[in-house]
């Protein structure tokens, strides 16, 4: 699965968790760019990603994701 496909899948997860059908995220999207992307929703997004891709992030990784791009890199490396 390449980055583009991963981005499409996690975009769906963001839409579902944040209850926003019109939402489009990009690699450089950060939490403050998206309404309602707070710490509570952040963890729900992480959990949904873990379930969808059958991967597991470390606590340290969850604390340090700065933007969607970093999240993509981490997913890609775990799927490889």
């Amino acid at each position: 699965m390449d980055k583009k496909e991963i981005l499409i899948k996690i975009n769906e997860i963001f839409k579902n968790i944040l209850d926003n059908e019109a939402l489009t995220i990009y690699e450089n999207t950060i939490a403050s760019d998206v309404e309602d992307w707070d710490s509570l929703n952040h963890i729900q997004i992480i959990v949904a990603i873990e379930k969808t891709f059958k991967i597991r992030f470390t606590t340290n990784e969850i604390h340090h994701f700065k933007n969607v791009g970093e999240l993509l890199v981490a997913i890609e490396s775990k799927l490889a």
Binding site: D38, S39, I43, V47, T59, N60, I62, H63
Partner: protein, 487 residues
């Protein structure tokens, strides 16, 4: 030393003038010395507790930073956390736990032989221990490098404007500022003084006058009418907001005069449309502390069952947040109620979102705002009540207001309001709240604080002098301590 004391009237200008006179290399020593003096005004010997935790956290920070393994990092972090929580446990929570053990032992026919500790709570203990813990926690997460300069680290914990009642700072935000060579900027000094003036007005005029009324009611509940009790519940909401936000304004203003910027602690909390939003706007530095170091790690740990994990973390976080305020069941109840409310909001989030789309946004938002405010007022009954019995008594008296209004002729034949304040005093209290909310409304919609800055010198100074005159004419006859000092 209290911000609203005569001593501070001399302390602040002397420290500020010396700060700008001294060369940069001596300023940290001046601020540290001044902060020690400020703290020792309460109970001098308690500075030893502060000094002990500073030494422990300073070395723990370096050891965590240099530890070669994660296991070792965790070990040094644990030493720091145990030292800070241990101080809190002994000085703040020992008697509370011991009293409950005594009560429980009595129920089962036993006797608790451990006597209560007879000592005063060190001022601002919950604030500076939390700030100290955020330092070692940030280092252990790799977000901050340990500070090698002992004096600068000590100043991070002891910086006098925020030492005893916050905002609870993070090392990333403040330590680098102590290394910057601060210059005298007229605009910066004026901005700080303006913030302090607004803080003093809120504290001395609004909060202290409201305190005279609410203290009279909450301390003599059984002689009050239901009308007086209900009014005091609403008054307390504005009192606690003005009292605590005033402290933050004075602290941020005093720091800004010297060129230091402290984090924001309030963002119009009464405009919140949910309890969750309320906590993003009220005591923001404490909320973010609990969020980063307790709530989020708890959710991450229990994320296999995410809904359960979040509700569990909300209940634990808010219960402990209540306990953070004070060692009493009244504070715990306050926290637990907020835990239930935020859990309810989490569970019903999607349902409420759909509902909001079906109702006129103006109506939906204002009803949400009103319900959130009423809920906050209700929980503050427990926060302010002297005992749990008092809190339940207050709640039981609320419905009586309808009876008193229905039988108005009987009600008005007796004194309706608490007699500790004159009728004029009551009118002033209502007036202050209306004016405060009017200013908040205007600032929200038309940014009046910024508009004042854009006016010419004459108008600006007319506003400043008017504020000073308001403080002089309407200052409460009794000066009250800041509520959050006791925490």
């Amino acid at each position: 030393m209290l911000f609203n004391s005569i001593e501070f009237l001399f302390f602040f200008p002397i420290v500020t003038v010396l700060f700008f006179i001294l060369p940069h290399r001596f300023r940290w020593q001046l601020l540290l010395g001044a902060s020690c003096f400020f703290y020792m005004f309460f109970k001098p010997e308690y500075i030893l507790i502060l000094a002990a935790t500073i030494v422990v956290d300073y070395f723990a920070g370096i050891l965590i930073d240099e530890a070669p393994t994660e296991k070792l990092k965790k070990k040094y972090l644990l030493i720091s956390l145990v030292a800070n929580i241990g101080v809190l446990a002994v000085f703040k929570y020992f008697n509370f736990i011991n009293n409950n053990v005594t009560g429980l032992a009595y129920v089962f026919g036993f006797h608790n032989p451990i006597p209560a500790l007879n000592m005063l709570l060190p001022i601002g203990l919950s604030f500076h221990t939390f700030q100290a813990m955020s330092y070692t926690l940030e280092i252990s997460r790799g977000n901050y490098k340990a500070e090698k300069h002992f004096g600068i680290y000590a100043l991070y914990v002891m910086f006098y404007p925020q030492l005893v009642a916050g905002p609870i700072e993070r090392p990333q935000n403040i330590i680098y500022q102590f290394y910057e060579e601060k210059k005298f900027y007229y605009d910066c000094v004026m901005s700080g003084l303006r913030l302090m003036l607004w803080g003093f007005l809120k504290k001395i005029v609004i909060a202290d006058n409201l305190t005279t009324y609410t203290d009279g009611v909450f301390n003599n509940l059984h002689t009050q009418t239901s009308i007086a009790i209900v009014i005091s519940i609403f008054f307390f909401a504005f009192q606690i907001f003005c009292d605590f936000s005033a402290y933050t304004d004075i602290a941020r203003g005093a720091a800004r005069v010297m060129g230091y910027e402290l984090i924001k602690n309030f963002n119009y909390p009464f405009r919140s449309r949910s309890v969750t939003e309320f906590w993003r706007r009220w005591h923001m530095s404490l909320t973010s502390w609990f969020n980063d170091y307790l709530f989020t790690p708890l959710v991450i740990k229990n994320r296999r069952s995410i809904s359960f994990g979040i509700i569990f973390a909300l209940m634990i976080t808010f219960s402990l947040s209540g306990l953070w305020h004070g060692a009493a069941w009244t504070y715990v109840s306050f926290g637990v109620m907020h835990g239930f409310a935020t859990s309810y909001e989490f569970i019903t989030k999607k349902w409420r979102s759909r509902l909001s789309k079906k109702i006129n946004p103006f109506i939906y938002n204002h009803i949400s705002q009103l319900l959130t405010f009423l809920f906050a007022c209700f929980t503050w009954i427990f926060f302010r009540a002297n005992t749990m019995d008092d809190a339940f008594y207050i709640v039981s008296r609320i419905p009586g207001i309808f009876n008193e209004i229905n039988h108005w002729s009987i009600t008005r034949s007796k004194p309706i309001f608490d007699e500790s304040m004159s009728n004029l005093g009551h009118i002033y209290c209502f007036m202050f709240i209306i004016v405060l909310e009017g200013i908040h409304y205007l600032d929200n919609h038309y940014q009046i604080f910024h508009l004042v800055l854009k006016q010419n010198k004459f108008i600006r100074w007319t506003v400043y002098y008017s504020m000073m005159l308001i403080i002089i004419f309407f200052a409460s006859a009794t000066s009250h301590r800041f509520i959050y000092f006791q925490f």
